[in-house]
Symmetry: C2
Subunit: 291 residues, 2 copies
DNA sequence: CAAGAGACCTGACTATAGTCAACCAATATG
DNA sequence: CATATTGGTTGACTATAGTCAGGTCTCTTG
């Protein structure tokens, strides 16, 4: 019972039972699990039905039935997507939002109990869950443009800065600041901010801002710890280079620090070459790439 | 989407889907999931039915039905437990063993695929699964006597030695050896070897061997990384002290090293006091406790 | 040794998940 | 512009999980 297979099986058993317990506690709200799972993915602002179906890996007939039953309960409304009138968008009603809040509090209780059990190791447990969930969700990983002021973008940046401080000797905590909400440097049409999503957790980002003329700068390439070692940084760089190309940028630059060895190796491997310094500390390496 | 609750929920989603995929791949063997789950817990040597029911958290009626259906298929046989004739013991038939091997290979495939995805981080992923499974199984944790030569006991000892080498400066890799299979020091009636089980993973051990007269020595207190921080070491010590008491031991001794700070803190907190040195390197601290 | 409790079995039942095929409407494609 | 594809809906169906009560042994306990 010491090989990885047996341990994976043990993990499956534990988690299957846990999911069962979760089911029955959710069932306390008088709604079958399938419908409850769907409900929890419907957002107040409206969520694409296909997206939910995809995430839960549901049959389209079954999905449709869940939606009807939630509609009958008055928790959601569905409407056709104006952009593509085959698609449907589900939206929470006020009653649905109340119901969601109730589920949220059940989930909060369970999470709190689990975290309490983990005691001093709560952080480790959350990291372990992130790692496994990211691994299992790998096929669903999606890179999408985001607003540089969205909470998720700011969280990515904060994580990025924290890592710089931890890894780059020359970097100090006060050295970095979140972007000015007024600034449009990282926003189309001048710039870009891309986030990589694993389900609803942002696990990576990269951004682009204009320098002058057709020269732009790639900044803030970051990958969440749970998603490292799977080529995400490369995918992010490819994505941002494609964006730059589409915007008509002719030359990309970036600055980095030699302590960030994996990043540096990636740049070298993808055609970036040395260029003249154009920024100061904590950068100590400057690269460019013609598109 | 950055708080622990949302992340727990994401984890649940990912894992529920994964379990679903596992289900359907197991269903390929033409047997409903419930029965397959039961079958996988039946061992060739025979397993207590109540134990299986407990691990899977099944209703007794449902469990009974699964057993009947597996019996009809000729995969298992059940017999009453001679020790308590209310209980039943399920045993794999040769055909059942073949079937198990088939499940094993499905599991092996899936595990291999998952590990392959994790690439360089396979070890981390397994550790993460252990941590979560141990946490979820916490209520089922059981301390049971074991044979000191069983593979599980040897694995515990190896892990224990590895940790000593890693943490105690004075300890060298060649310094420790697995117990002589002939020796009866750690076996009743003279000694004891206890293992703490989380499902079928050994997550801790402790042992007792006679010194002279009514003096005995506690040795090899070890807790798996995934089970630390939850008071298991204390439970193991209590268990071994109870065993010693029941055996008529009047005084316990142990040796340890001051680098093992948590262990030392535990001993101090549970009534152990300094005693004269009675062993050599790598020990540097000697304690005793009257029972 | 009687009473109660525990482990298991069986029958009867319900609820839920999931499948499949036929169908409609909108969009993409050669 | 005909045709294929996609997203979704509905009805009919099956399989499975799970619940509950009543029953039979067997063991434990006062």
């Amino acid at each position: 019972m010491l090989d990885p297979i047996a341990r994976l099986r043990r993990f499956n058993r534990a988690v299957t039972r846990e999911v069962g317990v979760l089911d029955t506690s959710f069932l306390g709200r008088g709604r079958p699990l399938g419908a409850a799972r769907v409900l929890q993915l419907v957002q107040a602002e409206g969520t694409d039905v296909a997206l939910i179906r995809d995430r839960l890996a549901l049959d389209s007939g079954l999905m449709s039935r869940f939606l009807r039953s939630l509609e009958r309960e008055g928790l959601i409304t569905t409407a056709t997507d104006p952009a593509d009138r085959r698609r449907r968008i589900a939206r929470l009603t006020p009653r649905g939002q109340e119901e969601m809040a109730a589920y949220d509090s059940i989930g909060r209780d369970r999470a709190a109990r689990l975290i309490a059990r983990a005691r001093s190791r709560a952080g480790e447990v959350v990291a372990a869950m992130d790692l496994i969930a990211t691994l299992l969700n790998r096929d669903q990983l999606a890179i999408r443009p985001a607003d540089p002021d969205s909470p998720e973008a700011l969280a990515c940046l904060q994580a990025y800065f924290d890592e710089l401080v931890a890894r780059v000797p020359a970097a100090q905590a006060g050295m970095f600041s979140l972007p000015d909400p007024q600034s449009d440097s990282y926003r189309p049409p001048k710039g870009r901010f891309l986030i990589a999503w694993s389900d609803d957790l942002p696990v990576g980002c990269v951004s682009l801002r204009p320098l002058d003329g057709t020269v732009a700068e790639v900044k803030r390439l970051w990958v969440h710890d749970s998603a490292r070692g799977q080529g995400l940084a490369r995918r992010l760089m490819t994505a941002i280079e494609d964006e730059a190309k589409a915007m008509g940028v002719g030359l990309l630059k970036l600055d980095t620090n030699s302590a960030l060895t994996e990043a540096l190796a990636l740049y070298r491997a993808t055609g970036w070459t040395a260029t003249a310094p154009y920024t100061g500390t904590p950068a100590d390496t400057w690269l460019e790439k013609a598109l």
